[in-house]
């Protein structure tokens, strides 16, 4: 089909007439001819980063605005086929890849020995935390331990529930704010005895904390 709509006997354009595109279309097959008329010229942007599709529409041709293809420079049929390949439809399937976004599950470990190795800290009891029965038991315990010879010593601090099983691993803060103990390795906590109080005695004639101290465990 030529731009002016004239055609020969077999429906092909008159070879003596050139189409508005300026090409001799007589040597083209019907398929190539159709492709040429629907030709798409890719005009690359200056940097080649983008492209603009431009279709040579029929009305463009009739308006006398054909693409500036010089006369006599008709592309070969192979070139037109290459042009057809360029405008082949986009693939309708893309290759998808799924990322594994699941977070790993941490491994849990059970180890009571780690926790038992750390000292247990007891705060110093404040006045009034011992019941009157416990105070009597404390006085009785001190008498039993030291007899009547307690002159020069005073009760400086009491710490509740220090098991006698931890007797060898008791540390007392120099300022008597806390006492810490560790359980012997391998001793189950349920075997530790309750009700024992750590009593710290200091010399009454020494004011600073550098004075002598005595520690004892009493069941109150």
């Amino acid at each position: 089909m030529s731009a002016d709509g004239d055609s020969g006997k077999d429906g092909r354009p008159d070879p003596r007439q050139l189409s508005a595109s300026g090409l001799d279309e007589s040597q083209l097959s019907a398929e190539d001819l159709q492709a040429l008329h629907a030709a798409v010229v890719l005009r690359s942007a200056p940097l080649g980063m983008a492209a603009k599709l431009h279709t040579l529409a029929q009305d463009d041709l009739q308006a006398g605005r054909p693409e500036p293809i010089p006369r006599g420079a008709a592309p070969a049929a192979g070139a037109i086929r290459a042009l057809k390949l360029r405008i082949a439809p986009l693939p309708d399937k893309v290759r998808l890849k799924r990322l594994n976004t699941a977070l790993p599950t941490p491994r849990y470990r059970r180890d009571e020995r780690v926790a038992r190795a750390l000292p247990v800290v007891r705060k110093r009891l404040i006045i009034g935390e011992l019941s009157s029965e416990q105070e009597h038991a404390l006085a009785r315990g001190l008498r039993e331990q030291f007899g009547v010879d307690l002159s020069g010593w005073r009760v400086a601090a009491v710490f509740a529930h220090v098991p006698p099983e931890a007797k060898g691993a008791i540390v007392v803060d120099p300022e008597l704010r806390w006492a810490a103990f560790s359980l012997p390795r391998g001793l189950p906590p349920q075997k530790c005895q309750a009700g024992y109080y750590l009593v710290v005695l200091t010399e009454t004639d020494v004011e600073d904390s550098a004075g002598k101290t005595r520690k004892l465990l009493l069941r109150l």
Binding site: T101, T105, P106, R107, R110, L118, V120, G128
Partner: protein, 183 residues
């Protein structure tokens, strides 16, 4: 015999998460200790999860995992920080945040007073010992933590030890374990 559990999840440098749960008996001695090995999300996971990653790891991965792995069923859990409180919607164990107030003793041992107008949960104070200041409990709701049912464990334990002290032990234990290489 009364018992309390203590849960802490640490966010270490480099977006590494590690948690530990310790259960103590009424003398404050550990009867159970479970910890998670350090969990380090990849850069891709950091990017994909964005700001929700920390909360997800603390609550849904490490915290929930530790509580579910614990054998101390039904024992109340004291949480180390308030970011862990939403765990109450994921597990069946009663959870609370515990702090000691500086108020004067407010009455007899065992007295509980609700506090009004607390955002992000419920709060009440309880007198756990004769002469100490009352403790403040923050809970998610009373469905997870029925106060009447669980306050007794705190009373029994507070009679023997400072009920906040084991939290320090959990934290110190995790600090020791964080550099340990897996066996």
């Amino acid at each position: 015999m009364a018992a309390l559990s203590y849960l802490d999840v640490l966010r270490l440098s480099g977006d590494v998460y590690m948690g530990g749960l310790m259960t103590v008996n009424e003398l404050g001695l550990p009867t159970e200790f479970i910890y998670s090995e350090p969990l380090r999300p990849s850069k891709l996971q950091l990017s994909l999860y964005g700001t929700t990653l920390g909360r997800y790891l603390m609550i849904d991965v490490v915290g929930k995992g530790l509580i579910e792995a614990s054998q101390s069923r039904g024992v109340p859990v004291v949480l180390a920080h308030d970011e862990l409180l939403p765990l109450a919607t994921r597990v069946k164990r009663p959870l609370c945040l515990l702090t000691q107030t500086t108020q004067r003793p407010m009455g007899a041992v065992g007295e509980v007073r609700a506090r009004e107008g607390v955002e992000g949960g419920e709060e009440f104070t309880a007198q756990l010992s004769d002469v100490q200041s009352p403790y403040s409990f923050r809970i998610y709701d009373r469905v997870n933590f029925p106060v009447d049912q669980h306050i007794k464990a705190f009373l029994d334990c507070a009679a023997h030890f400072d009920v906040l002290e084991p939290l320090n032990r959990v934290k110190r234990t995790l600090e020791l374990l964080k550099d340990e290489k897996p066996a």
